[in-house]
Subunit: 311 residues, 2 copies
């Protein structure tokens, strides 16, 4: 990729800082999606390591393109403890870099040696991209809107997060030349895992340790985001739900004590417990979706990692 896009891409991926000096540790993402491609391929055995690595790179590029655009749309100034690309170089550069990473993801897949796998992988990844767009659009529409139900929220999370994680697991199986039934089973596993991942992310967004997450504490509440613990709390019909709804309906900026109060109300209304239960259920469903033949230790370990993040 040509400059200045290459510098911005490496910055976003945590390889270096804005001036191309060495980035501090922890600036790179977890690469969970790439890891899932490898783990799914390994679980199916018979995989070609070369193809798997290309597919893992492609899903990471696709994911990072959506992060670049999401940060612009959501106005998020920091990610992983560093300023986002748009807040360093401006929104135009962040949009165009995202577009270029989207193209690069597809180029990598088109370059796979097996054309039949290439076409299937591209089909699945781009269908997933359309779902991500619909999910992100829905997520934006939730902001500041009351009356979002738990079902609305789960449908949005399926589009915004779970479909890509399902895609990663399915593509890992595809790269291992697994049969269609196994590819579909790994897709379902990833989809359930992805829902759990989003629900845990929502818990972290309220009760996470900023030192670990790189996000300011309570930032989701301060922005009145309709995350799962909040949606579950608002739909609980409790006294705390009424007070929380009033806090969310108020147009004024939240103070730190408002944020603390909101977190306490979500917990009082049972939102924290409900979100944790939903996450646990999705992990169980994920494990149940896996045929015994592909129930590998790596996939189990990654599933548990998703649920045990610091929060």
């Amino acid at each position: 990729m040509r400059e200045p896009l290459a510098t911005m891409a490496g910055y976003h991926l945590g390889w270096w800082d804005a001036d191309r000096s060495l980035a501090v540790e922890g600036s790179a993402g977890k690469a969970l999606r790439g890891a899932l491609v490898f783990a799914a391929a390994a679980a199916c055995t018979g995989g070609d390591v070369g193809d798997t690595a290309q597919i893992a790179a492609a899903v990471e590029l696709m994911h990072n393109f959506t992060l670049l655009h999401d940060d612009v749309m959501d106005g998020d100034r920091t990610r992983r403890g560093r300023p986002t690309v748009w807040s360093v170089w401006g929104t135009s550069d962040a949009i165009v870099l995202g577009d270029a990473l989207h193209a690069a993801a597809v180029q990598i897949l088109a370059d796979l040696r097996d054309q039949s796998i290439a076409v299937k992988a591209i089909m699945r990844l781009e269908a997933t991209c359309v779902e991500l767009c619909v999910g992100q659009n829905e997520d934006c529409s939730f902001e500041g809107r009351l009356g979002v139900t738990v079902d609305d929220y789960i449908r949005m999370a399926a589009g915004k997060t779970a479909c890509l994680i399902g895609c990663c697991c399915a593509l890992g199986a595809l790269s291992a030349k697994a049969d269609d039934a196994t590819v579909a089973a790994l897709g379902r596993f990833g989809h359930e895992l992805g829902l759990a991942f989003q629900f845990v992310d929502d818990l972290i967004g309220i009760w996470g340790d900023p030192g670990v997450t790189g996000k300011p504490v309570g930032s989701d509440l301060a922005r009145r985001k309709a995350t799962l613990p909040v949606v579950a709390a608002l739909n609980s019909g409790s006294e705390a739900a009424i007070e929380l709804a009033a806090l969310y309906a108020d147009g004024a900026d939240m103070t730190q004590s408002d944020v603390d109060r909101a977190a306490a109300l979500v917990e009082l209304a049972g939102g924290r417990r409900a979100a944790q239960r939903f996450a646990d259920e999705r992990i169980q469903a994920a494990v149940a979706a896996l045929p015994d033949a592909v129930k590998s230790e790596d996939l189990m370990a990654l599933s548990h990692l998703v649920c045990r993040r610091e929060h």
Copy 2:
């Protein structure tokens, strides 16, 4: 595509208005790129009409995705005489719709019956997309910058416009199962034609009839855009160039009389004549790039249409 993205996509493409009522005539684009795919395929003969139509649809979607994002980046409020998507629905929706159309373009190509053509077409279209991103990034960086040379400008125009038009002609030949040399020749034809197209667009941006172009008169000058006539004028070393440079360096909003004066200065400094000459040369080069066997009447007619737009 799901709602609300489908309504926005159809609005952008000129199929209907924002409330899905019938759009006025002239709201749809020229579909020049799609037409070039068909003309190139027909010139090579032996083409499969089904595949050609899919490829034409894909390049139009790719082009329209970049227009949606360009309008956000450039802050353009109108296109083809109607409010742009971002100015109706907001920038987030316009970004996400562009991303979804990008994905849809690739999905259509991945769905081609001949997988070898599918992979080649995807490779070429996505390599083109990266070029478009680099070109758009360069174009943004030109805004408000003095010292842009004619060579800088032509390189940017090659990335921003010519590479996609070259891609359309090459993909048309590919869909007709033409040999590699013919595909490459049509790619070169389209590239030269695309440069001419951009240069004529720049002339229209200053001297075009707003009733025909749908753009406010002199809008490129009012925004101090470094288009080819302006860049050629600024590099002419004439008295008019000095006065024009002063107008461009001034931070104040241009009045209509400033815009009129700028247009007169560009013409005085020879910028209008130079841009017209560059366009004519590129058209000649385009025609020269075509092997006699594929020098079809349609391709000649489209070439002349490009140069004879109202300005």
